[in-house]
Amino acid sequence: MTIVSVALKYLRGRLPASSLTAVAVALGVSLIMSTFLMTQGIRDAFILGTTDYNLIVGAKGSAAQLVLNVIFRIDLPPPNISYTLYTQLQADARVDVAVPVMLGDAFNGFRYVATSPEYFRPHPWRRKTFTPAAGKLLHDEPPDQPTFEAVLGAEAAARTGLTLGDRFYQGEEMAEYPLSVVGILRPTYGPDDRSIFLSLASFWEMNEIPRSMAVKPLTAVLVRPQRLSDLPSLHRELNVGAESQAVLPSSVLLSIFNLLGLAEEVLKIVLAVVALVVFLYLFVSMYHAALERKREIATMRALGARRATVLLIVLLESCLITVIGGVMGSIGGYGLAYLGARIIAQRGGLVLDPMRFTVLQPVLLAVVVLLGTLAGLIPAILAYRTEVAENLAPLS
């Protein structure tokens, strides 16, 4: 009989206790792993999903609302700015590209984003590329001849089930102006996947208030400057004026990360306590097992087993429990993170990909196994020290 088979026999001998201990380890590991995956996933979703434009110009109000709505399509749209602000920015010598954006309604929760074809145009400084998986992209449309054509993001198309040529609208007042699907985009792995794009002309004509306005409204203008070093002066000018605010999207996201960081600190403390509780539970379980088995161990020793062998068997048993628990916990952690990501996505929030494998996962697993083995150390020493004569004495 090898040491491993004895350790396995020990495990099977106290199957209920061993499996409960493994489950406790698994729960602890999955909690820690899913938390890491989710927090990293949220951060990455913001970094991956953010705009390529350096400045967002909108109405005065919350900078976070402007970025979350215009870029991530999460919050409610801020108040409108006038179209003239866009033409002014376009004429500004410091501005390279300006893109008008208008947000408002939605179809089945997928936001309408009214914009110009410029939104999809590639530039050397853009990470994102927009290509149609079917149909075409938006094209220039004269303001008085709206076509009511819509281009759907990949996820918006998949989840609404709309295909090329379909006509759709939401709400009674929109029945007069159904949109027809003329294009479906390839996935961009960002908020654009959950959006429905249409021309500004269509959007203005569909809605009662802008239809009657002489100067049309916009939600925001996305700006790429000629020189990045001109951003501070543009930013200041647009902010000191009474009408508008300008926001560096990364600045807003960094302050969101700072808040997330605080929550992560608290989570880390909670997780450390969880890890400690699991560690203690494993220790107590192994300690009890060692006490229960004093007679068995004494018998083994009497039959010629060495002290070191007994020590190894107990350490191995504890190690096996944590390996089983750790592997189960890793799988469970990915499962939990997947569920969490689904919940966040369904609430109309971020699309995050927590199914990533980093160096963290094997390191966490190794640390858990090491700690688990360590928890078995004192019980193992107890077994090591078992005196044959004392423990083989008749029980009665």
Binding site: I47, L228, N239, S251, L254, N258
Partner: protein, 165 residues
């Protein structure tokens, strides 16, 4: 001849001043934004003094303007804070802006009103990059940390304030 000697002396003095700035036992020289501005000549040509730092590791302290991705792998370093500091200073242009390319995404709690210490390989001269556009000063392979330890002086140590002009 006297003119030549004068210019040699003045550049020596500048060099001394620069090495003085990098005092307190640190071997990386610190460049001030004032030096960057002073180095600019007609048509955005730069002086030899500032070009001497090209390719060398330097330290610059300033405010972070996050114009790139929010992981801060690329950002602008400026003499004045561009965000929220409407009270006090007018924004600056490319002469007082350094384009910083971090060696790896820095771990820091970003604060637009805090001064950060950035060390990296200095690059001087106009350059056009397809992604970051035109820039005058750059720091590559940069490391960022909070600039703590601005010397706090007791009133008697600080001496009498300079007279108002």
């Amino acid at each position: 001849m006297r003119l030549l000697r004068g210019s040699v002396l003045s550049s020596l003095a500048l060099a001394l001043a620069l090495s003085g700035a990098a005092s307190s036992g640190e071997d990386v020289p610190r460049l001030m934004f004032a030096q960057l501005v002073d180095a600019i000549r007609a048509n955005l040509e730069l002086t030899q003094t500032i070009k001497a730092f090209d390719g060398k590791e330097v330290e610059i302290q300033g405010f972070i303007i996050p114009v790139g991705l929010p992981d801060l792998t690329f950002f602008l370093l400026s003499r004045v804070s561009a965000l929220g500091n409407y009270c006090c200073e007018a924004p600056v242009g490319q002469d007082e802006t350094v384009y910083v390319f971090a060696a790896k995404a820095p771990h820091l709690v970003y604060d637009p009103l805090k001064v950060y210490k950035v060390r990296g390989v200095f690059e001087a001269g106009l350059k056009t990059d397809p992604v970051q556009g035109i820039s005058l000063y750059r720091l590559r392979q940069a490391w960022v940390e909070e600039a703590v330890g601005a010397k706090i002086m007791k009133t008697e140590e600080a001496g009498s304030p300079p007279p108002h002009k």
